[in-house]
C-alpha cells in the first residue's frame, strides 16, 4: 500500500514540476524578450504573415491568457512553427528525435556495460594496477570536455588512422534504410541488411565514445565506492568468518548489495546524457534533435528551442520517476 501512495505522490509532484517548466519556458520566450514576435517570425516582413503570427500568439491579450493558449496548444500537440525550416515544429521533432534517443540509449548501454565490471573489479582488487587505472580514467573522464574528446577522436581515428568514418552523420551517403522506428540499428536488422547495419555501427562508434566517456568515469567511481563500502560491511565480514570462498563473497554476496545504489544513478545519467548529446551531435554532424535546436537558436528561431527544452525536461523527469519506481521493486526491503 505504501508503495502506491509513494508513486501517486511522485506523479503529483511531476505535474507540478512540469507546470513550473512550462511557466519558465513561457516566461523566457514571451515575457522577457522586449519583442517576442521576433522570435517567431525571423526575417519575414510580409505584413499579412506577421499579423497572422501575432494573432496566433495572442500577443494582444493579457499575459495570463497567452499562457493559457500556450498550454492548451501544447496539450493538443501543436508545438508551433519553425520559420527557419518552414515546418511545423512537431514534424521536425518527429524526424529528428529518434536519432538523438538512439545515440543516448546506445551510449548509456555502453556506459553501464563498461563501468559496472570496471568499478566492481577495481574495488575487489583495490590498490592494484586495475584499480589505479580505473580511478585515473574516471578522474580524467569527468574533466574531459566532450567536444574536445570528440574532435581528438576524429583526428586520431579518421584523419590519422582512417579506420572510422568522417563526422558526417549516421551513415554513408547513399545508404538506404527503410525507416520503421527511426532507430537505425534496429531498422537495419529488421530489414536484414547487415551491410547497412555495420555501416551504421561504424558511424556510431566515435559519437558514442565521446558521449559516454565522461559519464562512464562518474559511474565507475560510484560503483567502485559503493562496492568498497559493501565489502567493509559487517555481513561481509561475517561471511568471511564463515569461511565462504572469496569469489562467492565478492561476486554474489557483496555484488548484489553494491549494485543497487548505482542502478538508481542510471536514470540520472540518461538524463544528463541528453545535454551531452546536444554537443556531440554538433561535433559529429549527427542529425538529431539537439543539433536541430541549436541551429534554430543560432537563427533566432524560438519555437523549436521551446519545444526541445520542454520535451527534454519532460523526458528527464519521467525517466527519474521510472527509475525511482523500479528501485522500489528491486530492493526487497522497501517492498514491504
Amino acid at each position: 500500500m505504501k508503495v502506491w501512495f509513494y508513486i501517486l505522490r511522485r506523479m503529483v509532484s511531476l505535474v507540478f514540476v512540469m507546470g513550473g517548466v512550462l511557466i519558465i519556458i513561457f516566461v523566457m520566450g514571451h515575457v522577457i524578450p522586449a519583442n517576442p514576435l521576433h522570435f517567431f517570425i525571423g526575417q519575414e516582413s510580409d505584413e499579412a504573415y506577421v499579423a497572422q503570427v501575432r494573432a496566433e500568439l495572442h500577443l494582444d491579450d493579457p499575459i495570463w491568457k497567452q499562457f493559457g493558449f500556450y498550454v492548451s496548444d501544447l496539450l493538443h500537440g501543436d508545438l508551433g512553427m519553425s520559420w527557419s525550416t518552414r515546418n511545423p515544429v512537431a514534424a521536425d521533432l518527429a524526424i529528428r528525435l529518434p536519432a538523438t534517443f538512439e545515440l543516448i540509449t546506445v551510449s548509456l548501454i555502453v556506459c553501464v556495460l563498461l563501468a559496472f565490471p570496471l568499478g566492481v573489479v577495481a574495488a575487489v582488487k583495490r590498490d592494484t594496477w586495475i584499480d589505479h587505472s580505473a580511478r585515473v580514467t574516471s578522474l580524467l573522464g569527468v574533466a574531459l570536455p566532450s567536444f574536445w574528446l570528440g574532435l581528438l577522436l576524429i583526428y586520431v581515428f579518421f584523419y590519422r588512422l582512417r579506420i572510422l568514418p568522417p563526422p558526417m552523420g549516421r551513415m554513408s551517403i547513399g545508404t538506404n534504410i527503410r525507416q520503421v522506428t527511426g532507430f537505425y540499428l534496429i531498422d537495419t536488422l529488421l530489414a536484414g541488411d547487415l551491410d547497412a547495419f555495420g555501416n551504421v555501427v561504424r558511424f556510431m562508434v566515435l559519437p558514442v565514445t565521446a558521449l559516454s566517456f565522461a559519464k562512464m568515469g562518474q559511474l565507475t567511481r560510484l560503483v567502485r565506492s559503493t562496492m568498497i563500502e559493501t565489502l567493509g560491511s559487517t555481513y561481509i565480514e561475517a561471511a568471511r568468518a564463515q569461511g565462504l570462498r572469496k569469489w562467492l563473497i565478492h561476486y554474489r554476496l557483496a555484488l548484489k548489495n553494491a549494485v543497487l545504489p548505482p542502478i538508481t544513478q542510471i536514470g540520472l545519467i540518461w538524463g544528463n546524457l541528453i545535454g551531452g548529446a546536444v554537443i556531440v551531435e554538433i561535433v559529429f554532424a549527427w542529425p538529431g534533435a539537439g543539433s536541430w535546436a541549436v541551429d534554430a537558436a543560432l537563427a533566432g528561431d524560438y519555437a523549436p528551442i521551446q519545444a526541445f527544452a520542454i520535451i527534454m525536461a519532460a523526458a528527464r523527469v519521467i525517466i527519474f520517476l521510472i527509475t525511482d519506481i523500479l528501485y522500489l521493486f528491486i530492493d526487497p526491503r522497501i517492498r514491504y
Partner: protein
C-alpha cells in the same frame, strides 16, 4: 616470582596442557595508521579450556574484538599480526595457508557477531545464507541444507522454522536475528565458538533468553566458547573462566568465582567497583583517568597512571604474571611489602593486595 610466558604460563593457568583447546601465546597485533602505530595487542597470553566458556572482559578499545579477529585470521589492513602463536588443537593457526584457514573458519571455529542484524546479508534469505555455509563446508545440496537449516532453527527455538527460513533479515526481530546467527555458527558443529558481544544491542528481556540458549547449546554440542563482552553481568552468568583485558594484554585471569570474589588486579577491582550499587548518598565509583592512546602506550605497566597502588617499580618493566593459585593469575607488580589479607570488595578503597593464603604458596 616472575613467570615467563610459554610453558610456564601454561602451567600457571591451572590444569593439564591437554585440556587447552586454544591458546594465544605472546600475540602482538599492530595497526599502522597515519597517526602512528597503534598497538592493539601487546603480548596477549590466553588459554581456553576445552568444553568451558571463557569470558573476555574489558572496556571498548582494549582489544577484545581484535583478539577474536586474530584467531580467525580476519585482521584487516592496516593491521597485522607481528609475532606470537595461536595454537588450536596443536596447530599454529598463523602458519596455515589462507586456503586451509578458510576451511577452518565457520567450520571448526565459528563466530557470532555483535550486531546480529548487520551481520546478516540483507538481500538474501536465511535459507540462502545457511545453504552457502553448509555447501562450503559439508557439500550439502539445496534440499539437504534446507532440511538441516530447519533443524538448526528449531534448535535455537525459533517458532515456525519452515516459514522463518524463507524470511529476509529485515523480517526478523533482532532477537531472532541473533538466534539465526547462533544457529549458523553451530551449523558445522565447531569445536570452538567466539561470541563477540552477543547480547549488546538486544533488549534486556531478550538478553537473558539468548544467553541461556547460548550456554545450553554450547554444552550440548560439546564446544568451547569465548564470550567477549564489556558486561560483567554476562560473564558472571555464563562463564566458567574470566579473562580481564586492558590495552591489549590480559591483566587478570581465573575461574569466574576467583576473579569476582578474590579480585586482585587494580583494574579489575575498579571495574567491579563501578558496577556495585552503593548505599544512598554514596558517590558512584569510577576509575580515574582514561584509556591511554594505543599509539603512545606508557612504559612498564599501562595501567599505572590510573592506579592507586602504583609505585616506581611499575614504570620500569612490563609487570610480571603473578600466580595466585588455582589457576588464578594477575599481571601486576605489587611489592611484597604491601601485602595484607583482605576481601575483594573492600579492596576498592585500599591498594590492591594479595591474599595471605596465596602469598604462602608463593614462598
Amino acid at each position: 616470582m616472575t613467570l615467563s610466558v610459554g610453558h610456564e604460563a601454561q602451567r600457571v593457568c591451572g590444569t593439564d596442557p591437554e585440556d587447552v583447546l586454544l591458546s594465544l601465546e605472546d600475540l602482538h597485533v599492530v595497526f599502522e595508521t597515519y597517526f602512528g602505530v597503534a598497538r592493539a595487542l601487546s603480548g596477549i597470553d590466553l588459554r581456553l579450556q576445552t568444553r568451558k566458556i571463557t569470558g573476555l572482559v574489558g572496556e571498548t578499545g582494549c582489544g577484545k574484538s581484535v583478539t577474536a579477529k586474530a584467531i580467525l585470521g580476519l585482521i584487516p589492513p592496516p593491521g597485522r599480526i607481528v609475532s606470537g602463536r595461536i595454537i588450536f588443537e596443536g596447530t599454529d593457526l598463523l602458519r596455515l595457508s589462507p586456503a586451509t584457514m578458510g576451511s577452518i573458519r565457520g567450520n571448526r571455529i565459528a563466530m557470532i557477531f555483535q550486531n546480529p542484524r548487520a551481520a546478516l546479508n540483507p538481500l538474501f534469505t536465511v535459507n540462502d545464507q545457511i545453504y552457502f555455509l553448509l555447501r562450503r563446508h559439508q557439500g550439502l545440496s539445496r534440499r539437504e541444507a534446507r532440511k538441516r537449516g530447519i533443524e538448526l532453527l528449531h534448535a535455537v527455538k525459533i517458532a515456525d522454522p519452515e516459514r522463518r527460513i524463507n524470511n529476509y533479515p529485515f523480517e526478523l526481530s533482532t532477537g531472532m536475528c541473533q538466534r539465526v546467527m547462533i544457529a549458523m555458527s553451530l551449523a558445522c558443529q565447531p569445536r570452538f565458538l567466539i561470541a563477540d558481544e552477543p547480547t549488546t544491542g538486544l533488549d534486556v528481556t531478550i538478553q537473558a533468553q539468548i544467553l541461556e540458549l547460548f550456554a545450553e547449546l554450547v554444552y550440548d554440542f560439546g564446544s568451547t566458547a569465548l564470550v567477549i563482552t564489556h558486561d560483567l553481568g554476562v560473564v558472571a552468568e555464563t562463564c566458567d573462566f574470566t579473562a580481564v583485558m586492558y590495552t591489549g594484554q590480559i591483566v587478570e585471569f581465573g575461574t569466574t568465582e576467583d576473579v569476582f570474589q578474590h579480585t586482585t588486579h587494580p583494574y579489575t577491582v575498579g571495574l567491579l567497583a563501578s558496577c556495585l550499587i552503593g548505599e544512598e548518598g554514596e558517590k558512584l565509583r569510577y576509575i580515574r583517568g582514561s584509556v591511554p592512546d594505543l599509539t603512545q602506550l606508557p612504559e612498564g605497566c599501562t595501567f599505572r597512571q590510573r592506579c592507586d597502588a602504583a609505585h616506581e617499580g611499575c614504570s620500569e618493566n612490563r609487570p610480571p604474571v603473578v600466580d595466585l593459585g588455582n589457576g588464578h593469575i594477575a599481571r601486576c607488580c605489587i611489592p611484597p611489602s604491601s601485602q595484607t589479607e583482605d576481601s575483594g570488595r573492600d579492596a576498592v578503597r585500599r591498594p590492591p593486595l594479595l591474599r595471605a593464603e596465596n602469598e604462602e604458596r608463593m614462598r
